[in-house]
């Protein structure tokens, strides 16, 4: 709702809102500093590497989710959301692991098949949302379950080790002294950033999510962008599958639930971090890394692992509530 310039809140109110703006990030960083002082080796290069390595698959799927949210708007129920990305990642990992390890299929062929599966899922999601007009939340939640079901058939719900050199390189390899997975992911983030913020197409995609009417008046077709957002999201699921395989040295059942929760968390936490309270690529990446840092931090502090979820959950609610509060102060 546009507000006339003459009727804007005075600067006193915006000072308060600026403090609340920064609060989510401050709370998180404060928490990390606290851990740093209480856990001996937390502030070390090794731990940082570990944190980044852990967060890599989440970061990649977060890229996909961010794009869908940008294209569909950030209302979680009626806007853009894609919960099926983790399932796509898991089925791609399953396909590659099963084919490479149990049937001696060449890696490239396995990858091609996995890519085909991912594209199929993305296209189905995109069509159901844009053509049938189904809510993305419901569509992708249902797809999540269906894809996980199919994954069980592919892998027979068993753990499958993968010792292909490429996957091992992703796990153990280093580029310029930094682990290969992290470097590749950073490159991916940069590519996506360029794509979203430095190309016409990316900007138009953001316009569609920002204001559907504005985009339509400018001659853009919202459905087109939303459809491709789902396809790209599925593609990030495909990419994440390699890092899942690397992180777990193969495909293991049940990875999808955690990945989904962490993806949603990181992405929307990222929105709370961004001063404009919108989902952004960097926000999502930061969210993913910080959540991983927190988990590993608690572990190094010796906090009972069962408590970690509780602390994480509460912290996240605090951050979300603060974000909601600040948008109320502003409006």
């Amino acid at each position: 709702m546009p507000m006339p310039a003459s009727a804007r809140p005075e600067s006193g109110a915006s000072g308060l809102s600026r403090i609340i703006d920064a609060a989510p990030l401050v709370i998180f960083l404060g928490m990390l500093i606290y851990i740093g002082f209480n856990a001996p080796n937390f502030m070390s290069f090794g731990t940082m590497q570990l944190v980044l390595n852990q967060s890599v698959p989440v970061v990649v799927v977060c890229l996909g989710l961010s794009i869908v949210v940008m294209a569909g708007g950030d209302d979680v129920v009626s806007g853009g959301i894609d919960l099926s990305i983790p399932a796509t990642a898991v089925i791609c990992a399953g396909i590659i692991a099963q084919l490479v390890t149990n049937t001696d299929t060449p890696l490239l062929l396995a990858i091609a098949l996995a890519l085909g599966a991912a594209m199929f899922i993305g296209i189905v999601a995109g069509l159901m949302v844009t053509r049938l007009g189904m809510t993305p939340l419901l569509t992708t939640l249902a797809l999540f379950v269906a894809v996980v079901g199919v994954t069980k058939v592919v892998t027979s719900s068993r753990r499958i080790n993968v010792d292909d050199p490429f996957i091992i390189f992703l796990r153990d390899g280093e580029i310029l002294g930094i682990s290969a997975g992290v470097v590749i992911t950073l490159a991916l983030v940069l590519v996506f950033y360029h794509f979203i913020h430095r190309t016409k197409w990316g900007l138009n995609l953001q316009a569609v999510g920002g204001s559907c009417e504005a985009a339509e008046i400018s001659g853009l077709k919202p459905g087109h962008f939303l459809f491709w957002a789902f396809v790209i999201a599925a593609f990030t699921g495909f990419l994440a599958s390699f890092f899942l395989l690397a992180r777990g040295s193969g495909s293991s059942p049940g990875t999808e639930n955690n990945l989904m929760l962490e993806m949603v968390l990181a992405t929307f936490l990222g929105a709370a971090f961004s001063p404009r309270r919108v989902v952004t690529l960097w926000g999502a990446v930061l969210g993913a890394v910080l959540v991983a840092a927190l988990s590993i931090g608690f572990k190094t502090m010796g906090v009972n692992v069962f408590w970690t979820g509780l602390i994480k959950g509460s912290l996240i609610l605090v951050v979300l509530a603060l974000a909601a509060l600040s948008s109320r102060v502003k409006s």
Binding site: V77, L137, A142, S157, K312
Partner: protein, 317 residues
């Protein structure tokens, strides 16, 4: 020709699918249509139906509840612990279990109404916290079993009333109650109004916050009843088991809504959708498929059914 086909699909699409599945399953295995098996389907759907009733209420307010599974777990856990550790009788335990569910609903309501977090993220947070609490409490997720529970409590799952399984009777009573409240009472009228257009309902003087709190608490308490039955059935509390009902409940509500002329979540629609899911689960079971294949098939059928009912709804307009 094309036009008539379209209108037939628009009118009866979902019904045709149900009938087709019933015919298919009974052709594969004649046991399917037997009276015993039909009762099995109803009995097997009872807990999902109970959970889906609460979900219907929440979706009618325009929200969603991802923490119904937690409420179900809490219902089971509180009741089992009350009997096992504190020697409560069956109805005391049942009340405590339902109050356990209410805690979950109150937390949701506080987040949504008090702190204005969106229902999706608020209930996701509750889900995180609730799961974690269960892990802490059970030291990582081990079940709490209570083999010598009072027979009355056990009867919630295995007993019968005039030959009808108790859980079916409980589900039926809840269906009736929900039907009256949501489809026939002025409370339901208000809930639907605020779910369709919150701002207009507010201006019309409805106590929007009060109804939102009521709905979230009621939905969680209802899910807790499902938890009581589940725990009575296996005589133990299995942590995090409620999660498995979440997606089916959501799907049932949306399938049911798509069957409604105005696309609203509604009790009869939810009941039909739950029974449909029950038919699929039962039919696939009787086909003797392996566990993994069954999961995959029911997932695919779910997606297709959703797409179909939405397409059907679209055709109608």
């Amino acid at each position: 020709m094309n036009q008539t086909l379209k209108s037939i699909i628009a009118r009866f699409g979902f019904l045709i699918i149900i009938v087709a599945f019933v015919i298919f399953f009974s052709a594969v295995n004649p046991v399917f249509l037997g009276g015993d098996n039909l009762m099995n389907i109803v009995e097997g759907s009872a807990i999902l139906l109970i959970v889906a009733l609460g979900m219907t209420l929440i979706v009618a307010t325009g929200g969603i509840d991802l923490s119904v599974g937690i409420a179900l777990d809490f219902g089971a856990a509180f009741a089992i612990v009350a009997m096992k550790e504190y020697g409560f009788g069956w109805y005391g335990a049942a009340l405590i279990g339902i109050s356990g569910g209410a805690i979950v609903g109150l937390l949701n309501a506080a987040l949504i109404v008090g702190l204005k977090v969106s229902p999706f993220l608020a209930t996701l947070g509750t889900f995180f916290i609730g799961s974690s609490v269960q892990r802490i409490f059970t030291n990582g997720g081990g079940p709490i079993s209570h083999r010598r529970m009072p027979q009355e409590f056990r009867d919630l799952a295995v007993g019968d009333v005039f030959g009808i399984p108790t859980e079916v009777v409980i589900a039926a009573v809840l269906v009736l109650a929900y039907f009256i409240v949501m489809e026939r009472s002025i409370i339901g009228r208000r809930v639907h109004a605020l779910g369709m257009q919150r701002s207009a309902a507010r201006v019309a003087g409805l106590k929007v916050n009060k109804y939102l709190i009521l709905c979230f608490v009621a939905a969680s308490m209802t899910a807790a009843v499902g938890g009581l039955i589940a725990s009575a059935n296996i005589r133990m509390f299995t942590p995090l088991s409620g999660f498995s009902y979440l997606l089916d409940a959501i799907a049932a509500v949306f399938i049911g809504a798509a069957l409604h002329p105005r696309g609203r979540p509604n009790i009869p629609g939810t009941v039909i959708a739950v029974l449909f899911l029950g038919v699929i689960a039962n039919g696939l079971n009787l086909m003797g498929l392996n566990f993994n294949t069954k999961d995959a098939l029911s997932g695919i059928i779910l997606v297709s059914a959703l797409a179909l009912v939405v397409a059907q709804q679209k055709l109608r307009h």
